[in-house]
């Protein structure tokens, strides 16, 4: 029963990882911008939700506020930080340093506004109940599964069936060709940031209720997103989603067999295995050298 219990916990954690990692992968896949501040988006969305909760707003309204903050932040970064750097032929490393600076600024602003302490939303949704002997499941588990499924189905349909979605997929391949089809690379890049940032919101909202938040939470989120993107295949949305789920399950399930200290390390062992034996990741295209 312990293994089943850990599997349940792993799926819940993995679903949230998958959503956040997919956001990072979507942005990187479409724009080739290493959006290191994706973790900061997660933190801002989470704290916006906490703020709304303290104001007494309902979950849907709090979620909406978090969504507005995350999307607004993503669009702001795209327009005010990344685009000017790219306009001046800024290198990949320059963008990374700029994003890193943004992370520090956001963390400091959160500390100034909310203090440095841990914050969490107390809700009955996170209280686990015994549904089978020895198996405890909280309602937030089902919520995470439903939300992740809905988001991925909707996103898949958007990317496959709409003109903008197809344009997003084409953006990283040939921005010039997009113009021939009447699409704007600039607008598509903004759309990628809006969508990618929005994908961080469910994880941030549910994270505020389950694990809680601290101003430095973005760093961990970014690490997981990065690992999931590599394991899933750089730029692959479904790869990042599946890898996020896989990492969540592995780091939880490993506790059944090894010391708890191996929990986080196990996820990165998976990462190393992929780097060594399948560097293109689960769904990445192999490159001949």
């Amino acid at each position: 029963m312990l293994v089943l219990q850990l599997l349940v916990s792993g799926i819940e954690t993995g679903a949230l990882y998958a959503l956040t990692a997919a956001g990072f992968a979507l942005i990187f896949g479409a724009t080739r911008i290493f959006h290191f501040a994706h973790g900061a988006t997660y933190a801002l969305a989470g704290y916006a939700f906490v703020f709304a909760s303290r104001l007494g707003l309902t979950w849907p309204l709090g979620g909406l506020l978090a969504l507005l903050v995350a999307v607004g932040f993503g669009l702001f970064l795209e327009a005010a930080v990344y685009r000017p750097i790219q306009r001046h032929h800024g290198a990949f490393f320059t963008i990374f340093v700029a994003a890193f600076g943004v992370v520090i600024v956001v963390q400091s602003l959160i500390e100034l506004s909310f203090g440095r302490a841990f914050v969490a939303i107390s809700t009955p949704l996170t209280r686990a109940h015994e549904i089978l002997p020895g198996l405890y499941i909280a309602r937030v588990f089902w919520l995470a599964i439903v939300v992740a499924s809905l988001v991925f189905v909707s996103l898949g349909a958007f990317l496959a069936r709409t003109r903008a979605g197809i344009g997003l997929r084409a953006l990283s391949e040939n921005p010039d060709l997009l113009r021939a089809f009447g699409l704007s690379a600039r607008r598509l890049s903004a759309l990628a940031f809006a969508l990618g940032s929005a994908l961080a919101v469910p994880g941030a909202v549910l994270g505020a209720a389950t694990t809680g938040l601290s101003p430095a939470v973005g760093a961990h989120v970014m690490l997981i997103s990065l690992a999931a993107s590599v394991v899933g295949g750089i730029g692959s949305l479904r790869g990042a989603a599946l890898a996020g789920l896989l990492l969540g399950i592995v780091e939880t399930l490993v506790v059944a067999f090894l010391d708890t200290q191996w929990s986080e390390a196990a996820g990165f062992v998976v990462l190393f295995v992929f780097i060594l034996f399948r560097p293109s990741g689960l769904f990445g295209a192999a490159v001949a050298r």
């Binding site: 029963m1 312990l2 219990q5 850990l6 916990s9 792993g10 819940e12 954690t13 963390q107 500390e111 203090g115 440095r116 302490a117 841990f118 914050v119 969490a120 107390s122 996170t126 209280r127 686990a128 109940h129 015994e130 020895g134 405890y136 909280a138 389950t210 694990t211 809680g212 601290s214 101003p215 430095a216 939470v217 961990h220 780091e251 939880t252 399930l253 506790v255 059944a256 010391d259 708890t260 200290q261 929990s263 986080e264």
Partner: protein
């Protein structure tokens, strides 16, 4: 004709500018007693840095108002990040750049990294936050104004046995503090007839504890003891409770911070801490408590008390040395401490042993509506 290079020109033009910054700084250093702080100021343990600094700042304010010393007291802060590496880097800067002669420190790992640097430079380090067992007698220039965790465990163990909480599951952070606590708890609990049924080591950066909770639940312990820091403590409590762990939760004095005290899931938590009786009627305690309440609108915590005491201890020792016409340095401060031993501090008289460690009464508390209530 001698050619003057562009670099020489730049250096020459920068000299007056550099001088204008450096001269006042070194002049200030001569005029003032530089006290360093080596606290975590960013990251998951930053909450401690804020708390520690507030206690020290109030002591400086009081010492200045009382004109205890002929020179002003100046605080110079370095961010230890709560890590040994950050501690070593910060201590080097405080000693070699800021020329601090008395450094306030917290956290076991940070203390262990900074102590050798302090001993080499004969700079006094005073700990008011770290409680790892190894901190006793770390160096002749390292003192503790906080009782260490073995003292807390000694008080907690008979309490647990009396309440039939014999089988304890432990979650501890894998660092010098956590490992020391594990050893002390295992020794004392086993000797008293109890047992550690599980000991899960975690990294200071871990955020997911649902897997540990699942494993602990299968063992059905009488109580769960966790030993961690800062934000992580609140995450552990919340996730254990959410996972259906209804057993008594236990911990040490590190949980006496707002993020734990204000957590609804922490209600009923049992934690050991030094006795903090703010009703004591000595003038030093009353002044501290009254001013604290006036400034912050709440009661101080033992950490505030400790760092207030750490700065007050410096002021008392330096005052004594000034009156005797002696230099105020590491050796003289140490000699004065060992010669005097008893000091009027917040909470009553503080008595120091040969190692420079204070002795204080420890009590078992429970959290009730965010407040510590002594129960044993």
């Amino acid at each position: 004709m001698t050619r003057i290079s562009r670099r020489t020109l730049l250096a020459a033009s920068a000299l007056p500018l550099a001088g204008s910054f450096l001269a006042p700084r070194s002049a200030r250093a001569e005029e003032a007693y530089i006290l360093g702080t080596l606290f975590p100021m960013a990251g998951p343990n930053a909450e401690y840095g804020t708390i520690f600094t507030a206690g020290a700042a109030m002591a400086i304010k009081h010492a200045s108002a009382d004109k205890m010393l002929s020179r002003p007291l100046v605080l110079r802060a370095e961010d230890s990040e709560g890590t040994p590496q950050g501690g070593a880097v910060g201590m080097n800067k405080l000693v070699n750049v800021d020329h601090a002669l008395y450094v306030l420190v917290g956290f076991t790992g940070v203390s262990k990294a900074a102590a050798p640097i302090g001993a080499r430079a004969k700079v006094i380090l005073v700990n008011g936050g770290g409680v790892g067992p190894d901190l006793a007698g770390l160096s002749p220039y390292y003192w503790n104004v906080i009782p260490l965790v073995p003292d807390e465990i000694k008080v907690l163990t008979p309490f647990l046995i009396a309440r039939q909480l014999r089988r304890v599951a432990l979650i501890y952070v894998n660092d010098p503090f956590g490992n020391g606590l594990y050893k002390a708890l295992k020794t004392d609990l086993t000797a008293a007839g109890g047992e550690i049924v599980a000991a899960d080591a975690i990294s200071p950066a871990d955020q997911q504890f649902s897997a540990i909770a699942a494993r602990i639940r299968t063992l059905s312990p009488d109580a769960v003891y966790f030993a961690s820091y800062g934000a992580q403590q609140a995450q552990i409590i919340k996730q254990l409770r959410d996972a259906g762990i209804g057993q008594q939760l236990l911990t040490y004095s590190g949980a006496a911070i707002p993020s734990v005290r204000n957590l609804p899931e922490a209600e009923g938590l049992i934690l050991t801490a030094q006795a903090a009786d703010w009703t004591v009627d000595d003038p030093i305690t009353q002044r501290f408590v009254t001013d604290w309440r006036a400034q912050y609108g709440s009661d101080p915590t033992p950490y505030h008390q400790n760092y207030y005491n750490a700065v007050r201890l410096f002021a008392l020792l330096a005052q004594q040395l000034e009156k005797a016409g002696k230099p105020v340095d590491g050796d003289a401060l140490r000699a004065a401490l060992l010669a005097t031993r008893r000091f009027a501090l917040v909470g009553g008289e503080g008595v120091f042993d040969d190692l420079g460690d204070i002795s204080m009464k420890i009590v078992v508390n429970t959290l009730k509506s965010g407040k510590l209530v002594a129960i044993g």
